[in-house]
Symmetry: C2
Subunit: 254 residues, 2 copies
């Protein structure tokens, strides 16, 4: 049985905790947070404490907090022994400010407070400086996910950057499309089946194969009409940028 | 019982046909195509014919073909009587080159040959010049979808444009992210759970609420690192454009 302490109470901490408490090979012995209110949920299932209070001993300490707080918080904690990991996609192991053994446990998903998550499908990227620690981390990760992979910092950082494109920018595309609908008093949920199917079909084909639309077809007439309909600024600029990029993509390898 | 003839054999025609043959209030009496091979699938369930051959009588003729062929094909067909509709999101009723009554039946979805579709969830937008025709079209549409709505051309065109943003541009974002992964020899399917969850969570919250990431947080340090990691050209340009637009979105209504 691997024991773990979770430091943090946000969405990542919460979903990690929910997954870990269902794992047979792991026991979360404590959750640490900044204030009592944030700890209420966790307190129903395990011991909790404020960060400034003492920590339990554990095999693995998981710091699941925002990127910019990792260095400070890791320094403030009094880890005696054990492996300390953070959950960030974009930071190196060395951001952990501790003399303890170090590693990373990065779950690649967007976590929301009120949405359940099937953690077994979430890719969990692990990294550790020591081979034994890597094994320890792998055992913990495999207790909650079927998609555990060891990734170097450079690969993890690139994965995180790709995630920014599909999640952050993808979501902003949805927002921009929603504004287009609002201009004509159309409800956003009309797009929901299309948005979900656009995402889901990639389980069966590559984005290259899935591409459709006027830019893919080289339908200049429709593209000209679209540009006229769009406001100058972000809408026209984005339309041109994406349409040109789509056209280039398919011109390249003909 | 409403009778229908489908003209066309592509993905839209195929999925419409599959939905209509399951509807209790509609009977597809014939499918017309350009060559015998394309008609094989439909021939298992109903009468088929080549476009140049004669048409059956029906209450509604559904021209489900590519935008640029609608005018020519509708002119070449010998409709005697009945309502003729096309399935395009971006063209007016008037593109139908016929003396018959006219309308539109636009299903808002991306249809793939090898993927099943729950048509009852697909928004179906209808338009007709005559109120009786609108009723006829509504009856047919409600036989296959729970989300039928009457939309003017201007609203339908705007909806189609929004669909280009989420589907065509969304898919191209997936492609670009896939290229970032390829640079580090990472498999695309690592992103699949994130892509699907980014889409699915909009069933529960608005894109405005769902936005996360460095641009949303105003995390200039991470954004600077991201820009350095990206190639000049589409990647950097898109990163700046989307990040600026996200920052503006949240600066606006604080």
């Amino acid at each position: 049985m691997t024991t773990a302490v979770i430091i943090g109470t946000g969405n990542v901490a919460r979903h990690l905790f929910d997954a870990l408490k269902g794992a047979e090979t792991v026991r979360v012995v404590q959750v640490l947070g900044r204030n009592p209110g944030e700890l209420t949920y966790f307190g129903k299932y395990c011991e909790t404490a404020l960060i400034k209070e003492g920590m339990r001993y554990a095999d693995i300490y998981i710091i699941a907090i925002s990127d910019d707080a990792i260095s400070t918080v890791s320094q403030s904690l009094d880890f005696n022994i054990g492996l300390v990991v953070h959950t960030s996609g974009s930071l190196p192991v060395s951001v952990l400010n501790t003399t303890c053994r170090k590693g990373v446990l990065y779950p690649l998903q967007t976590f929301s407070r009120d949405r359940d998550c099937n953690f077994r499908e979430v890719p969990v990227c692990i990294e550790a400086e020591d081979p034994d620690d890597l094994l320890l981390l792998r055992n913990l990760a495999e207790g909650i996910s079927d998609r555990v992979c060891e990734l170097s910092f450079l690969k993890r950082r690139q994965l995180h950057l790709a995630a920014v494109f599909v999640n952050n920018f993808g979501n902003h595309l949805y927002y921009l499309a929603g504004q287009l609908l609002r201009d004509e008093a159309l409800p956003f949920d009309m797009l929901q089946p299309l948005i979900e199917e656009t995402a889901a079909k990639l389980g069966q084909m590559s984005p290259r194969e899935a591409q459709t639309g006027p830019a893919r077809r080289g339908d200049l007439k429709t593209m000209a009409v679209h540009r006229q309909l769009l406001e100058e600024g972000i809408y026209q600029t984005l339309y041109d940028l994406m349409s040109n990029s789509i056209q280039k993509t398919y011109a390249k390898n003909l």
